[in-house]
């Protein structure tokens, strides 16, 4: 089995993460496109560049497609704004959960509320919301200025979520400085 065949098998497995409709409609074409990209990248460095590009855009692409699929299920196939508002709501709830968890952590003062060691808490409180926030900001940046003006509820919710995240992150730093995490 050649290296390219192996890479394509990996990508074929990655394609399974997309919504079924998208897989069915564009899966084979996406696989062919990646095969073409790899064919055009003979050296190790070039192949690594191709894979880096694929990996970097993957979370955003999966997020967009799944949100779009949810939107389609809600009978809003031509209403991307609704999809964005839903994603903002998800973002808001996640950020809110982060703040609540942090508040409880501060209030209880004794052993941390979740009993999680610091690295796990760091991932839960800082990394995950930051990734979600990053994805949301990227989806905002993809909108044209005119569409952006129409999607004002999304912008408002994203701002609130960002504020909540900031409070959560500050709480985390305070808890960390007071040694509230088990090591």
């Amino acid at each position: 089995m050649s290296k390219i065949d192996g890479s394509l098998k990996v990508y074929a497995a990655v394609l399974r993460l997309y919504p079924r409709e998208h897989q069915k409609r564009y899966g084979k074409q996406m696989l062919q496109t990646v095969e073409d990209m790899l064919d055009d990248a003979p050296s190790f460095i070039e192949r690594t560049t191709v894979w880096t590009r694929i990996i970097i855009e993957l979370p955003m692409s999966l997020y967009t497609e799944h949100m779009q699929a949810i939107g389609d299920k809600m009978h809003a196939p031509k209403n991307p704004q609704k999809v964005r508002n839903i994603s903002a709501l998800v973002l808001l709830v996640l950020s809110l959960a982060t703040v609540v968890a942090n508040r409880l952590l501060i209030i209880y003062q004794g052993p941390p509320f979740w009993g999680l060691p610091q690295p796990l808490m760091f991932i839960a409180v800082i990394v995950v919301p930051l990734v979600i926030l990053g994805i949301s900001i990227r989806s905002l940046r993809q909108l044209s200025p005119i569409t952006l003006r129409r999607a004002w509820p999304f912008v408002v919710l994203a701002c609130i979520a960002a504020a909540y995240f900031t409070v959560g992150a500050l709480d985390y730093i305070r808890a960390w400085r007071h040694g509230l995490f088990p090591m």
Binding site: R25, K28, Q29, T33, R53, I54, E57, S61, I146, T147
Partner: protein, 112 residues
């Protein structure tokens, strides 16, 4: 021609631009986008097919038979041409205005 209110996202606009020369399949579109933008815009397969899906839904592009099931070609529809022309008209106008402004700021002259 009356302008549509919404401007397309950059990837979608770049796809229309790439298809304005001839029908292309996915990888060819990616290559043309990179070439048109002097290598500044590089689209991955995920973003490309998300945009293609949206453009197909909006009937701005259509699929034509390719050499196999995995390599499908796309071309602009009449609506797609109209949209592309209207986008280009808009950007042309933006460039014209910004040139006037730059001239005014530098020399106090509008060029009018």
């Amino acid at each position: 021609m009356k302008r549509r209110m919404d401007l397309l996202p950059q990837v979608s606009f770049s796809i229309l631009m790439a298809l304005s020369l001839k029908p292309r399949h996915g990888y060819e579109i990616m290559q043309q986008i990179a070439e048109d933008s002097l290598g500044k815009v590089k689209v991955g397969p995920g973003a490309l097919y998300t945009a293609i899906k949206q453009l197909s839904k909006d009937e701005l592009i259509e699929e034509i038979d390719g050499d196999n099931d995995r390599r499908r070609y796309y071309r602009l529809t009449k609506k797609g041409w109209e949209q592309l022309n209207s986008e280009l008209e808009y950007y042309e106008n933006v460039v014209k205005i910004s040139k006037h402004r730059t001239a005014y700021e530098r020399f106090g002259w509008t060029g009018a």
